[in-house]
């Protein structure tokens, strides 16, 4: 069975500081990896995904994540955060061998950006 561990439940940072949200997964098969963001009172939105190819993936708003197979990690980073990045972030994994996209999520990390 797959599992996803997000090592930090809450991450407070100051505006314009760098941030890393950590995610580790366990799976015995190939996986697809995702980061979702959830703003207050809104649904989950896909932030970025790793399916294959380059292990470094980027989002349109400056976040990036690197797939590290040997360490089974998919940490999310941003070099300079904004107040508007305050949200809860979820790492998720999909078994690459399944024919449909059932996701296993981590517990979530609340990112709070302070002015």
């Amino acid at each position: 069975a797959q599992s996803v561990t997000q090592l930090d439940s809450q991450v407070p940072v100051f505006e314009e500081a760098p941030v890393e949200l950590r995610c580790n997964y366990s799976s015995s098969v190939s996986v697809y990896l995702f980061w979702y963001v959830q703003y207050p009172n809104q649904g989950l939105q896909l932030l970025l995904k790793y399916l294959s190819g380059s292990t470094l993936v980027e989002s349109i708003n400056g976040f990036e994540a690197e797939f590290n197979k040997s360490q089974t990690s998919f940490h999310l980073r941003k070099p300079s955060v904004h107040i508007s990045d305050t949200a809860e972030y979820f790492c998720a994994v999909r078994n690459g061998g399944t024919s449909y996209g059932k996701l296993t999520f981590g517990q979530g990390t609340i990112l709070t950006v302070h002015p």
Binding site: V4, L44, Q45, K49, F90, K102, L103, Q107
Partner: protein, 116 residues
């Protein structure tokens, strides 16, 4: 249409009542998923539909939970004889295709169920 919609957004039920939660997926999306998100936790898979066929219901926590998608579009998640532990946000997601095309799921805003 716009995105995935869910109704009601909030539901308060007395213990023992039955509830029905509705999901309207994005038009044309073949795949539909239900997830349960308890307070302070990540979403957990409940069940999956491909068109009208329920292909996986391994995540349904008990036989009080029942889901259907009779015409391959709108889906309803029904919980019978609600218990306090059923209190959670119920999320619906849809995706365009099947097989390798299902990697991007679009989520609705969820229904927050509170059982008193």
């Amino acid at each position: 249409g716009a995105g995935v919609s869910q109704s009601p957004r909030y539901k308060v039920a007395k213990r023992g009542q039955d509830v029905a939660l509705r999901c309207d997926p994005i038009s044309g999306h073949v795949s539909l998923f239900w997830y349960q998100q308890a307070l302070g936790q990540g979403p957990e898979f409940l069940t999956y539909f491909q068109n009208e066929a329920q292909l996986d219901k391994s995540g349904l926590p008990s036989d009080r939970f029942f889901a259907e998608r009779p015409e391959g579009s709108v889906s309803t998640l029904k919980i019978q004889r609600t218990q306090q532990e059923d209190s959670a946000v119920y999320l619906c997601a849809s995706s365009l295709g099947e097989g390798q095309m299902t990697y991007e799921q679009y989520f609705g805003p969820g229904t927050r169920l509170t059982v008193t």
